[in-house]
Symmetry: C2
Subunit: 462 residues, 2 copies
């Protein structure tokens, strides 16, 4: 990450406003695609398009690869075929499917005609593998020799091999005539060996491998466990069909970890960069869980009603029946946000300077999900139908329906701003844990509930 | 991970019982250290010691490196100097400090005398860097050339270099006479270049770098972001002092992610493998947070008392004041456990076959933390001193004090068994999220509370 990222964003914005293609190309041609992608996520779509269209098509392709899927999709709709062809030629296979979905199969097939035929064939082959399988993200480019190849021949082959192939050569794979993997040795080893030594003598005969149909996450964890930078990929008959490289494995692990973290905070969906998601996408990732937990939590209300409706020591004010529901909804929405933001901060997807970008979309998200839960909560309290509702008085039901959005907006604001503020002051944002936010929101949320109750119940009368 | 890990553990157990050193050495000499370490974590200390002492000292050293810190520490106390010297010679610097702490400075210095002098010096140098800094985990072994070295000379140097040095050679670093980093090129590139081409012409002049005093996590994330397998490490004056390799970077990221996940679940402490921690260590990682959140949550009780003690519409049974406290404690302890176990399952540290190893230690942990919270909860309810306590009646205080450990034991059991069961049936354990467990425990926890209340309050009389 550039240390001057905020300045860089502003530079891009003003370049974009200049609409001067030649200037843009000249100023940005030496920038790394990762840095440009990072800034483009923070630009408006129109501004970003000016930049991408001004750049050399190859550079634009490399930037598209680095963009989060959702942002890339938005740009893809607007970019010319030359840029898309460059992109298609280098993108990971996961993204190829997204691209096809976005462009439609016809335009996608047309693009495949533009790129080198061999690459187009590889794309078609790899797209056949199931999602999340190693085969989908492996490369078919690896360096193979037969067991009786001498080291002198190996080095000569490397000198003569295609640019693409030699990109992956840190290890050399020894295959028999039926493509079965016999062993592996490193390029370093080849250099240090005697020129007439044979691959079969030099190789390590028990390489750690993975299978094309295996879950990519499992293969990636195995690679990390043994400290390798690539694993050979075998088909079901033990033939080597590709190479699972370390940087792809790291991406898989990072995304799986992100998805796990989000799931543990009750947020569903793929590991998408936070800033690339729209408010509507944020709502879709959170509201189903919030609603599900809300329904489950209302069981707690049933328990309270069961014990608290008698006339004995356990008798309770019906106001109490809704307490777990309200603090549960506040705690859950707070957990969702703090989990999302803390992870995005850890990955560097969000930085403290993004606080307004975050707050803006979180408040909009909370307004929508708060309204949905408020309506459901009101109905749940008011409707007098067994199982569906509790038939509470209108005034109490209104209190519940009004308290829910208020508590959710409050807990969402707390859950997004506390981790960012912690990071801003050099603290570890992860200490603003889900339980911490929940606890904090519990007490304050109840104040909101009772203040609303005091005014509404006092005036409407029970 | 071996597919037959449970069988492998049993094989180790029976080998250990045989006490036959020669047999153990023969049977295990070809196993990977990662697999042996994985099994040793699950063996009793005595059994594991028999294995480690039987193996060749060098192999034992490699296994110690792969063991989680806490397990390694336990073995270190019992192992002979020859094994420890092999271990010291290859361990990451973080572990060197643990080793010194465990052995005491004198025995540690004695060990440094046994290993090669150059390695001992490197260890002493790197131990000077601050914790979590790149300098602490970099290697000082890298391949450097001057800008006017020809490729023919580079390849000759690689052939003649020491075994240790050539282990790291995928990239070759170009340094000026004052050790300032000028550029980098890959070994592949060197092979494909003309023999009389010079390093200075070939190199990439803008390598991504890191600094020795920089946080290792930041450097590791940068390495991952740009998809590199190593970063050159510079001192404050721009001189290259070491290499931060990709496998060390991955370990850093994995550990930082684990610590973040645990923190987000309100568990403190380093990223230690779950099974290597004792019950007492689990208690230490969780109870401070549980207690802190308990105190914070009792503010919610204050809010309830404030609004609920009047005689108006808001009046409440004092029994209700403790509801947020009880469901909070249940939810928090459930979150702690489910977060810990889900992460351990994702990393493969815990497998479904470990369910009894997990349940055993979780119930013991819950007994201890439940008792502590029960006592604190009873005092908090009963003591009639402003700020410290609420002066509730004895019977109600007893109900709170008894419900807390019961709820905590219940939520801990649910929080540990549900993710393991999910994994066992091929589901993603992460869907047993903290909010899910909390919600589930809320309703059931209240049943526990009211059942205890019904019996105690009924009999003691308020």
């Amino acid at each position: 990450m550039r240390s001057d990222d905020q300045t860089f964003i502003e530079q891009l914005e003003s370049l974009s406003r200049s609409q001067n293609g030649a200037l843009i190309r000249e100023q940005l041609s030496d920038e790394r695609p990762e840095d440009l992608a990072d800034a483009l996520v923070r630009l408006d779509l129109d501004e970003g398009l000016v930049v991408l269209k001004s750049l050399d098509a190859e550079q634009a392709g490399y930037i598209l690869v680095e963009l989060p899927t959702e942002t890339a999709r938005a740009y893809i709709r607007e970019l010319p075929d030359t840029t898309l062809a460059h992109y298609l030629d280098i993108l990971p296979m996961d993204d190829a499917l997204d691209l096809r979905e976005e462009l439609g199969p016809e335009r996608f097939d047309a693009l495949l005609e533009i790129i080198p035929a061999e690459d187009a064939l590889e794309i078609r082959r790899l797209m056949e593998y199931p999602e999340d399988a190693v085969g989908r993200i492996m490369t078919e480019q690896f360096f193979e020799v037969s067991p009786d190849t001498t080291m002198a021949e190996v080095l000569k082959d490397i000198r003569l091999s295609s640019e693409e192939k030699y990109e992956t050569v840190n290890d050399i794979y020894v295959l028999d005539q039926h493509s079965h993997l016999l062993g592996v040795f490193s390029l370093r080893r080849a250099i240090r060996a005697l020129p007439d030594q044979k691959a079969g003598e030099l190789m390590n005969q028990e390489p750690v491998t993975c299978e094309a149909f295996e879950l990519a996450e499992e293969a990636a964890r195995r690679m990390a466990r043994y400290g390798f930078y690539a694993l050979p990929v075998l088909d079901r008959r033990g033939r080597m069909v590709g190479l699972f490289t370390g940087d792809d494995a790291q991406t898989v692990i990072r995304e799986e970890d992100t998805e796990d973290v989000l799931k543990m905070g009750a947020v569903s969906g793929d590991a998408e960069a936070y800033l690339s998601l729209s408010v509507w996408q944020l709502v879709k990732r959170r509201v189903p869980w919030l609603l599900g937990l809300f329904v489950a939590e209302s069981l707690t209300g049933n328990v309270l009603r069961y014990y608290g409706q008698g006339g004995d020591d356990l008798h309770m004010n019906p106001l109490a029946f809704f307490i777990p529901l309200l603090i549960g909804a506040g705690g859950n929405s707070g957990s969702q946000v703090t989990t999302t933001i803390t992870r995005a901060l850890a990955l560097g997807e969000v930085r403290p300077t993004d606080w307004w970008r975050v707050t803006r979309r979180e408040i909009a998200t909370a307004l929508i999900s708060g309204t949905i839960l408020g309506v459901v909560g009101f109905l749940r309290a008011f409707v007098n139908v067994p199982i569906l509702g509790w038939g509470a008085p209108l005034d109490l039901s209104l209190v519940v329906g009004a308290a829910l959005p208020a508590i959710i907006i409050w807990s969402t604001s707390v859950g997004s701003l506390l981790p960012i503020t912690a990071k801003r002051f050099g603290l570890d944002p992860a200490v603003m844990s889900a339980p911490f936010i929940s606890t904090f929101v519990d007490a304050t949320g109840l104040i909101i509930y009772f203040e609303i109750a005091k005014h509404v119940l006092g005036h409407l009368g029970t």
